[in-house]
């Protein structure tokens, strides 16, 4: 087991007191495995990812356990986090234009973690950066001297990947890595990530709101809503036979080929709870067609369902019959 997140809670300070934006999140990841985390914006997926990097917003209170490679990350001090970040755990961000420093060449930005973590000289790190760029599909050594604004979106994201992989991390967290890219480039970037991950036996957490991206790249998936894990299991099982009413609604809201022209998309009625407006019960209760009073009373427990799946819903049996 490389990563084991158990009962993770994140509270953010607000003028009206602390608000819990991530509630009792648990999942685990093996070496070399790719886990998908899917959810709408505000579902807590990015906050969860940032907590794994120790980069939660200032003032955030984190409770629960994050075990990585046998260490409890929740207990690390600043120096220990720094040693881990960019070396053992790396992150790829959504928007490669704003996530790269506009004043530094990409070579310099890729070389930086090597200088910090490997103690390489500037020259040696730059030579390594050129090799890394070749590995991510930018073989021209002049690219290392380019500034971010001189590259296309796909090239920038490749540079970002080279930066994240520079120290050979055992876990990469990719937060919507292809959302800002054209569809054709998206596929290339995901294929590149998968290939590099396989070569280095690197585990990856792929955060996305795009079910197709998750389906193609992840064996297992965690579905988040309102700061909670609604359902988790193998991707095939969860997407083909969703147990939780939320997962079901999410799948039905997808546009599909072959649908009759003019047929409207199924939308989920109501709107997602804004982060922190945590209701006492199930966060989906207000929009769920199967809600009973008990749903809003207490958060549903995480219960095993049909083999290795886990779902948080007290109406799973009923949900199965509605299908």
């Amino acid at each position: 087991m490389l990563l084991d997140v158990a009962g993770l809670n994140i509270d953010l300070p607000t003028p009206d007191g602390a608000r819990r934006i991530v509630r009792d999140v648990s999942f685990a990841l093996d070496r070399g495995e790719t886990l998908g985390v899917v959810g709408e914006s505000g579902s807590g997926k990015t906050m969860t990812a940032l907590a794994l990097m120790g980069l939660s917003p200032e003032g955030a209170a984190i409770s629960g356990a994050i075990r990585f490679d046998g260490k409890d990350l929740a207990k690390l001090d600043d120096a220990a986090w720094r040693a881990l970040r960019g070396d053992r755990i790396a992150m790829i961000f959504q928007e490669p234009m704003t996530a790269l420093n506009p004043l530094h060449t990409i070579g310099r930005q890729i070389a930086e973690p090597l200088i910090v973590h490997r103690g390489l000289s500037r020259r040696a790190a730059m030579a390594e950066a050129v090799k890394l760029l070749a590995r991510v599909g930018l073989p021209d050594p002049r690219r290392a001297r380019a500034y971010p604004h001189q590259l296309s979106g796909g090239q920038r994201q490749r540079a970002m990947i080279a930066m994240a992989l520079s120290c050979g991390p055992s876990l990469v967290i990719a937060d919507e890595p292809t959302t800002a890219l054209d569809v054709t480039v998206q596929a290339q970037i995901l294929a590149l990530l998968a290939e590099l991950g396989r070569q280095a036996d690197m585990a990856m957490i792929l955060v996305s709101h795009d079910l197709a991206v998750i389906a193609q790249n992840c064996k297992r998936v965690v579905v988040m809503y309102g700061g909670m894990v609604m359902e988790s299991g193998t991707t095939a099982a969860v997407l083909e036979r969703p147990a939780h009413p939320y997962t079901r609604a999410l799948l039905q809201a997808r546009p599909r080929l072959g649908a009759t022209r003019g047929q409207r998309l199924r939308v989920i009625p109501g709107s997602a709870p804004s982060a922190g407006e945590a209701p006492p019960g199930c966060p989906f209760a207000g929009r769920c067609p199967l809600t009973v009073p008990a749903c809003s009373a207490a958060p549903p427990p995480a219960a095993p369902w049909r083999g290795d799946r886990i779902a948080r819903c007290i109406r799973l049996e009923e949900a199965e019959n509605v299908a």
Partner: protein, 316 residues
């Protein structure tokens, strides 16, 4: 970068030429004859005509304009009517006071504002931030002549640490001359620092909220390395721009402080020249100030482009 530099130099020359035309032209279209203005209403027509001839006012506009430019290029700024001495020497004597004053004040401004701004930005919303912001609020509200008088009262009159005014000249030695400029420089610099501190703080806070700062932290850099290597360079463009404006302001806008400390600076020279209707001196001084503003802006532009590669591209 070389192409960019060439473009900026060409633009600099063009702007200077345009400014000289405006400065020369504006004084040209002043109502009445320059010689009449200088001599006053009671002058005889003969005296006015004689002065006009002496000043070359009977020549056509273009001839006079190019003669003026050629003179400046040779270092010949003409003769002051009121002082009856070469304007070039007059101005350079005054610049020997104003330029060091502006440089010392600017250095003070930069050191105070950058450190206070960095300090406050790192402690956003905490006590240190509030203290800096409150101090800068006071700095913004205080007029610099009042602050100058306060400094004289405290440091010159009460503590007798510095002279209350006057300038012994650089020939009197470095220490006395420098000493005479310290209080004026503080009164100019501290007030400017209040503005620049706020600019620095807000520029840094903007940059610290950027995605690439989070990327730098995700690489495992320390907060200090993130601040110095990633945040500060990105915040420097607005800071340098404001500093450029402030420097021009320090050279031209020091009149009041020069008066409080009885310093023979450029500001005082312009003030006296206007009072004396010494039009040639006014003309040359205005041209000098315009040139300083234009050149400082040029330096700021080039410095910003040296920092930010995107600016080099945009100019093309």
């Amino acid at each position: 970068m070389l192409l960019y530099l060439l473009q900026r130099v060409l633009l600099l020359v063009a702007t200077l030429a345009f400014a000289s035309l405006v400065v020369f032209g504006v004084l040209e279209i002043l109502p009445g004859d320059a010689a009449q203005v200088m001599l006053g209403a009671s002058a005889t027509p003969q005296a006015v005509a004689a002065l006009a001839h002496k000043l070359g006012l009977d020549q056509p506009f273009a001839t006079r304009y190019f003669a003026w430019l050629a003179g400046i290029a040779r270092g010949d700024f003409g003769l002051s009517y009121a002082y009856d001495s070469p304007i070039g020497a007059l101005i350079s004597d005054r610049l020997a006071v104003s330029a060091p004053l502006a440089l010392i004040a600017m250095a003070l401004t930069a050191v105070i504002a950058l450190s206070a701004g960095l300090f406050a930005a790192q402690r956003r919303g905490k006590r240190g931030d509030f203290a800096v912001m409150a101090a800068s609020q006071i700095g913004l509200a205080v007029p610099n002549f009042w602050f100058a008088i306060l400094l004289v009262l405290v440091f010159a009159v009460k503590l007798r640490l510095a002279p209350s005014g006057g300038f012994p000249g650089w020939s009197a030695g470095f220490a006395p001359a420098f000493g005479a400029l310290i209080l004026p420089a503080i009164s100019l610099g501290l007030v400017q620092a209040a503005i620049l501190t706020r600019v620095t703080r807000s520029a840094l806070l903007d940059v610290l909220g950027e995605d690439f700062i989070r990327t730098a932290r995700a690489k495992g850099l320390s907060r200090r390395a993130v601040l110095w290597r990633h945040a500060l360079p990105n915040a420097l463009t607005p800071i340098l721009t404001i500093m450029g404006l402030q420097f021009a302001n320090l050279i031209a806008g020091a009149i009041i402080v020069e008066n409080v400390f009885v310093l023979p600076g450029v500001g005082q020279l312009i003030f006296q020249a206007i009072a004396n209707r010494d039009i040639l001196v006014v003309e040359d001084c205005v041209m000098l100030l315009a040139a300083i503003v234009i050149i400082v802006n040029f330096i700021v532009d080039v410095a910003c482009a040296a920092i930010d590669p995107r600016l080099r591209r945009r100019a093309a």
